[in-house]
Amino acid sequence: MAVNIIDVNTVFGLWPRRPVDISIDSLLGLMKRHGVSRACSVSARGIFYDATMGNDETHSVSARHPEILPAATLNFAAYLGWEDEMRLRLDQGFRVFRFFPSVQEWSICGKAFRRFVDEISDYPSTLLVVPAAEGMLNIADILGGVPNPVIITSFRYTHLSEAIEAMLAHTNLYVETHQINSPDFLHVLADHVGLDRVIYGSNAPLSYMGSALLPILNSEITEAQKQAVLGGNLEHLLEANAQ
């Protein structure tokens, strides 16, 4: 049975902090090489420079490449106009919002983000993707229990215990896989929260896509569980979106 792989964590554009090719062509090439059917992606322009310009770029790229699922971003340090930007992207059909607080020097604990959470709660089918560096406790306190699914990215096994506790407390919290990196993390998550709460992501092209895929493909979970982690769970959330 061919596995339908959907990557929740990719980026495209330029990366000013390392000389690495993260062009859209590079991302599409990796997807083809690894059999990834769709990838949720965000423009790095929106991370480093201007959210609106980056979201325009993401919108344009996803229109040209249907395999790219567009993720919008908002910068709460830049602040001005974020409400209009949010509504514009919702109107355009963006159903994933990603955040990069440490790069942009703000925190999800701030007032502006909390107001965003209040507003996005009116759009409960929108997925929110947040980095674990904001703190599991903060994520649980601020985003736990909102109607939106929240996917926590980019944490190592050292934070797995807190991730499990946060997920046990709040059923809307999910985890993305690429950096967890302990040999049996899938088994531990299966035992404690269930693999329906685990979503494959790679951070490609910044990170090796194969480094994120092989630990799942070679794990000793069932084929059905692999399918769920590699794409089924995210597809289910996105289908719920569409409805």
Partner: protein, 252 residues
């Protein structure tokens, strides 16, 4: 695909993970094509140097594919030398491991000098030193910066020094520093699978000074295999990184 893994742990960890015994390690090696693994004791790294080295020697005994590092602790230089003398005459032990962040003693402090001198002049076996670009484990100041390790390599040109983890997230700076020393090698295992780091390592150090390390059993073996297979390497370069360089450095 043949592999020698120069960075394998034996023991237990303080995060959610099931204990991994030797049978598990051998099974993963068989499934992933790893021919030989060089292991270090997690017990020795985190708590009991002598007890951990002894436990490791018993674990690898009788397994042709498993080798060991003797762990040394900079807080106990005399005892460390005794550990070296006890184990490095045993052909199953092919090098020394040092973790400055866990013992909080920088490798380039005077108390470590006798250890490096002994390795350089008498045993002539490599040392794998953990490197990281910032303080870890809630330490206030860093003890495992690449320049500290390079300082050791500079004062002991006959000593083969491996920078474990290639500096972690700060691998670019690590490579810049390592490039100036012909007796420094790197292994690239970490949880940061930056997609340009293996190619950059080969470009800066040459294809002979980059080693495959997985970080198993703390880390997922497949993460590093995925990295080295995806890295933009020629087949000759890949074979050197995955196998031959380790065979040459450790004589196994």
């Amino acid at each position: 695909m043949k592999l020698i893994d120069v960075h394998v742990y034996y023991g237990r960890w303080g995060f959610p993970i099931k204990p991994a015994e030797v049978d598990y390690i051998l099974d993963v090696m068989r499934r992933s094509g790893i021919e030989k693994a060089i292991m270090m004791s997690a017990l020795a790294l985190s708590y009991d140097m002598a007890g951990g080295n002894l436990e490791l020697s018993q674990a690898i005994w009788g397994h042709d594919s498993l080798y060991g590092y003797v762990y040394v602790n900079g807080n106990y230089p005399e005892e460390s030398i005794a550990q070296i003398d006890r184990y490095l005459r045993n052909p199953k032990f092919v090098g020394v491991k040092y973790h400055p962040e866990l013992c909080t003693v920088r490798p380039n402090t005077p108390q470590c000098e006798p250890i490096w001198g002994l390795l350089e002049t008498e045993y002539r076996k490599p040392v794998l030193i953990h490197t990281w670009s910032a303080a870890e484990h809630n330490n206030e100041t860093p003890s495992a910066l690449p320049e500290m390790v390079a300082d050791v390599a500079g004062r002991h040109p006959g000593l083969k020094v491996i920078m474990g983890h290639m500096g972690g997230p700060g691998w670019g700076r690590c490579l810049d520093i390592a490039a100036g020393f012909s007796n420094i090698w790197v292994d690239f295992c970490s949880s940061y699978a930056d997609s340009d780091k293996i190619r950059a390592a080969v470009d800066k150090l040459g294809p002979d000074r980059v080693l495959f390390g997985s970080g198993m059993t703390e880390n997922n073996m497949w993460m590093q295999i995925g990295a080295v297979l995806e890295a933009e390497l020629g087949e000759g370069e890949r074979e050197r990184v995955m196998y031959q360089n380790a065979a040459d450095v450790f004589g196994i």
